[in-house]
């Protein structure tokens, strides 16, 4: 575990930020930092898929939405009208349901968040499996379009289904009690614990992904990226590894969706939109594709700025610009740039080299 000492400075920074906000009386920053941490959870998962397994996905907001929406729907839709029906009786007997009161004080019977979370993640896993088998056979443009198509289908479904609240989304999602005394909830009194919950989940996720990358599986993934034929010839079942990575990143996305939805107390269709998926890809690209640290840092910084409204009404445009800028000037990610050499990358200032005409 010695290698995980690199996380000490991060843990220190997380604690320092919390203390700083408490000291400067600006605790409200923690809300956006908590939300950014959940988005970053999706982004580090996508980073492994794109950077290490080399598969682009323009549909990961779809998995986020699957997680968030299923969890939200199950924990808000009242089952009391169906209380006599067999499935509901069965769920009650298994302890999967919890009672409560709705905003009008009427009794409410809903699925418990833990069970809803499990169902949401399992659904994402199954969909990733079913979608991944055919989709991951595709390359380049086809893969990009197919995943984009998947994202749009999810978006259309949540937008058009009454069950998922159509354009309004779902609100009034209850808090998620992880263990007694620890509630994922946006309530002000829970702000500090939730900041730590989010960061614990995110750091744990990064630890697991780092283990994965520096293991037999991670080497196989990088080998597929480095030379698919040679990886095949070395006995790596490329299809299986791509699929499993796809499923893993889908689970991370769904988990992020579940937790953020309980934290926000609701979810809306914009979480499933294509722009969200593109934004995640942009952040992974800025971080340098095959660089979990880059993805983590950029995920935090950009999401935080965006959530604070730093980009104003140009929010999406900023991410478009970032995408283009990174791909044009620094395809290895922004952390790879030595800033002193930046100016030479601008065509005007580029030193004349013997023209090797690209054909």
């Amino acid at each position: 575990m010695g290698k995980n000492l690199v996380f000490l400075p991060i843990v220190a920074a997380v604690i320092a930020i919390q203390l700083l906000t408490a000291w400067t009386d600006s605790v409200y920053y923690l809300t956006q930092l908590t939300m950014s941490a959940y988005y970053s959870l999706l982004i580090v998962g996508l980073c492994v898929l794109m950077g290490y397994a080399g598969q682009i996905s323009l549909g990961h907001a779809g998995f986020f939405a699957i997680g968030g929406y299923i969890s939200a729907a199950l924990t808000t839709h009242n089952l009391i009208p169906f209380v006599d029906q067999l499935p509901v009786r069965l769920l009650t007997a298994l302890g999967c349901l919890q009672g409560g009161l709705d905003i009008y004080g009427d009794p409410l019977l809903v699925v418990t968040p833990w069970v809803a979370c499990m169902i949401a993640i399992l659904t994402a896993l199954i969909i990733a499996f079913l979608l991944g088998i055919p989709v991951l056979k595709l390359k380049g443009h086809y893969l990009a379009m197919a995943t984009l198509g998947f994202g749009i289908i999810i978006y259309r479904i949540v937008l058009a289904s009454e069950y998922f609240g159509e354009a309004d989304g779902i609100s009034g999602v209850p808090g998620f009690q992880l263990v007694p005394g620890l509630l994922v909830s946006g309530d002000k009194s829970w702000r500090v614990p939730n900041y730590y919950i989010a960061w614990t989940v995110l750091i744990l996720a990064v630890v697991l992904l780092r283990h994965l990358i520096n293991s037999r599986v991670g080497r196989a993934l990088r080998a597929i990226h480095g030379s698919p034929e040679a990886a095949d010839a070395m006995g790596v079942d490329t299809a299986k590894f791509k699929l499993q990575t796809f499923m893993l990143s889908a689970v991370f996305s769904a988990l992020a969706g579940v937790l953020l939805t309980h934290y926000n107390g609701g979810i809306g269709p914009s979480e499933a939109s294509v722009m969200k998926s593109v934004r995640y890809v942009a952040i992974v690209a800025v971080g340098g594709m095959a660089n979990i640290w880059g993805a983590l840092v950029m995920g935090m910084v950009l999401n935080f700025l965006s959530l604070r409204g730093f980009f104003g009404s140009y929010d999406d445009a900023v991410f478009g610009l970032i995408l283009i800028g990174i791909m044009l000037f620094a395809p290895e990610g922004i952390l790879s740039l030595q800033l002193g050499r930046l100016w030479r990358r601008i065509p005007l200032f580029r030193r004349k080299t013997p023209a090797v005409k690209e054909v």
């Binding site: 037999r216 080497r219 030379s227 990886a231």
Partner: protein, 251 residues
């Protein structure tokens, strides 16, 4: 004992019969070379055996098991390793990591075990590292272990690729032009190396252009021309075969 049996193998690309009714067998522990002029179908033959292409007709059996049309990673899993004519390093990985990928089929840690770094997984990882360093050492490039493979000199990359293939502990090693791009000293060294590999108990099938190398180290030679086998014998006989001479020197 026969380790590899190729029976009436044929591969057609549209109007081109790249490999035409080729049969031969390979004895366990032998070094066999496939030679022939450019376009004779040597590389196609290799790709058929390694599973990268599916034959149009015929059969290939390895240790008594039919393998034609099997996906390459399955063929590798059975114990057939290969190198490539134009070296295919895993970009972005060190020489050692490249060789460690070669241990893939000899290890088994999956996603969950790797993520949670179970004790079994840690033990296995250590064993992979030790074993891979041994193979780098066997090829005399242990000191390059932590260099990015793509930054190595050409000859060293070739050695890494060989170490990677050996790390699979194959029963059969397919070498696609191992001496291509090497000078005569390096070629002689590769020759000695192939003989040492055979001493490890590994059967070797190679495609090669360098005649002196082939004549030196092979136990038997198969000669292809326009996809057909025109001769198969020990080097001294093949050298005198009038048809082989005609193919190589013209009428």
């Amino acid at each position: 004992m026969t380790i590899l049996q190729v029976e009436q193998l044929g591969k057609r690309f549209g109007g081109l019969q790249a490999v035409d009714d080729v049969s031969f067998s390979l004895r366990q522990g032998a070094i066999k070379a496939v030679i022939g002029p450019n376009g004779a179908g040597k590389t196609t033959l290799f790709n058929l055996i390694a599973g990268m292409l599916e034959p149009t007709t015929g059969e290939i059996s390895f240790q008594g098991k039919a393998i034609q049309g099997m996906r390459p990673f399955r063929v590798a899993g059975l114990g057939i390793a290969r190198t490539f004519q134009n070296i295919k390093m895993f970009a972005g990985m060190t020489a050692l990591e490249n060789v460690m990928v070669g241990r893939h089929v000899r290890s088994k840690a999956g996603f969950l075990a790797s993520m949670f770094r179970t004790s079994g997984c840690r033990r296995e990882e250590k064993a992979i590292r030790v074993k891979s360093l041994e193979f780098l050492d066997f090829l005399g490039i242990a000191d390059c272990a932590d260099t990015l493979a793509t930054n190595l000199a050409f000859g060293q990359q070739r050695a890494v690729e060989l170490a990677r293939a050996l790390a699979l502990e194959p029963a059969l090693l397919l070498l696609d032009e191992p001496a291509a791009g090497l000078n005569i000293y390096e070629t002689a060294e590769i020759g000695r190396l192939i003989v040492r590999i055979r001493e490890l108990g590994i059967t070797v099938l190679l495609v090669e252009h360098d005649m002196s190398l082939v004549m030196d180290i092979s136990d038997e030679i198969v000669v292809l021309s326009f996809g057909r086998k025109i001769a198969e014998d020990i080097p001294t006989v093949v050298q005198r075969d009038p048809e082989v001479i005609k193919v190589y020197l013209g009428e």
